[in-house]
């Protein structure tokens, strides 16, 4: 009996001490299948990457300044991306952090400007205002290649919806100077996951 009680206590202690999962379950109705697409690292201009930390070290307001991961192209099914970014330093402004690329260019570009405003580069729509330097922001994008619907969730809230396009797509994230932007910026991503159904 003493052994059983000890086992109960051990189980309780183990439950209480269980570490947080490395990442959360995917959002929206599944069933989702996790997968791990390959990627290429793009470093141009003053862009550098170390693991999941991406930096633009210059304030140059022209030219190709980027440090990004470009993931493998997909062309079928419904795809979900999840990641958390934390800007640790951003003296610059108007930096693209996450993109869904279409066959003829960027289909959706999420960017941040001075003060923590997140916006869609095409159209300039404000998505959220809480990208405070030093705090994590959660990004989910859900893309249905069948009907072209693309939804962007910032911290769980649907902040942007669009449709259109066709053909091959791919995800990119990191730090990229938009046409009107400039660094420096230092951003670290974490909890990157991909699902499909």
């Amino acid at each position: 009996m003493r052994r059983r009680a000890a086992a109960v206590l051990a189980a309780v202690l183990a439950l209480a001490a269980a570490p947080s999962p490395a990442s959360a379950a995917p959002l929206e109705t599944g069933p989702w299948t996790s997968y791990s697409p390959t990627f290429d690292l793009q470093q141009r201009g003053c862009g550098t990457a170390s693991g999941l930390t991406f930096r633009l070290t210059c304030s140059t307001a022209s030219g190709d300044q980027r440090a990004e991961r470009r993931y493998a192209t997909y062309s079928s099914g419904v795809r979900q991306f999840e990641g958390y970014f934390r800007i640790t330093s951003m003296p610059g402004s108007r930096i693209s952090l996450k993109q869904t690329f279409g066959p003829s260019g960027p289909f959706f570009m999420l960017a941040v400007e001075r003060g923590g405003r997140l916006y869609a580069v095409h159209g300039g729509t404000t998505l959220a205002t809480g990208a405070t330097v030093g705090t994590e922001v959660r990004v989910n994008t859900v893309h249905n290649t069948g009907n072209g619907a693309h939804r962007t969730y910032i911290n769980g809230s649907n902040r942007h919806s669009q449709t259109g396009g066709g053909g091959g797509y791919y995800d990119k994230f990191g730090a990229y100077r938009t046409e009107s932007g400039a660094g420096p910026v230092d951003v670290t991503w974490s909890g990157i996951q991909f699902w499909r159904k």
Partner: protein
Amino acid sequence: MIRRTLLVVVLVLAGCSAGRGGPAITLTATLTTPVDIDLRWEGAEPGTAAQIAEFATDPRGPWTILEFLPPDRRTYRHPDLMPRTAFSYRIRPVLGPATPPVPIRLTAPSFDVAAPADLSWAAPRSLPGTTGNGVPGGAPTGLLAEPRTRDAILLTWTDTSSDEEGFLVEILPQGAAAWSVVMVVDPDITSVGVQALDTERTADIRVRAHHYGTPSGTATRTTGG
């Protein structure tokens, strides 16, 4: 023996879930519409300087900050949520002392520096001799706000705390009713640049050595849609 063991189990559970004395904050979450969740809470930890509302889609985390809130707030709406998804919430008090406010005035024409400018000075850093001799709960001292460009100031201070979880940079624009958090930097940082918005060109600014208090219990609701 069984009774004694169960008592231990109960005490362990209470200790793990509530901390010493239990959470001071009682949180409820209501699914107000199929995709909107309203949080309401009661209670506060003594000395609360700010609060954070956090969410997760797994009650074990990871937790993500939704917003820094003033200490007297008791409600928060999480809107337009992903459908058919479980959302968990908690409220965490932010504690710790701040420097006295320092005025910032980004109005002088001499600071109208042409872009692009070298902004490398603005990266967070620990300046030599400004940290390492702290005591628990020590307030930052010697805050200086030095305009560097038309839009940016350099903040420097001395770290006198040995137990901070980081520093909050808080701003009070002229005419604003409450301070807001504009930046969170890591422990031991004592220098960082702040890019001011148009509404922040005349403002007060301060730096807080912060740590988090006991979180509320977790409230979970599943969206419809």
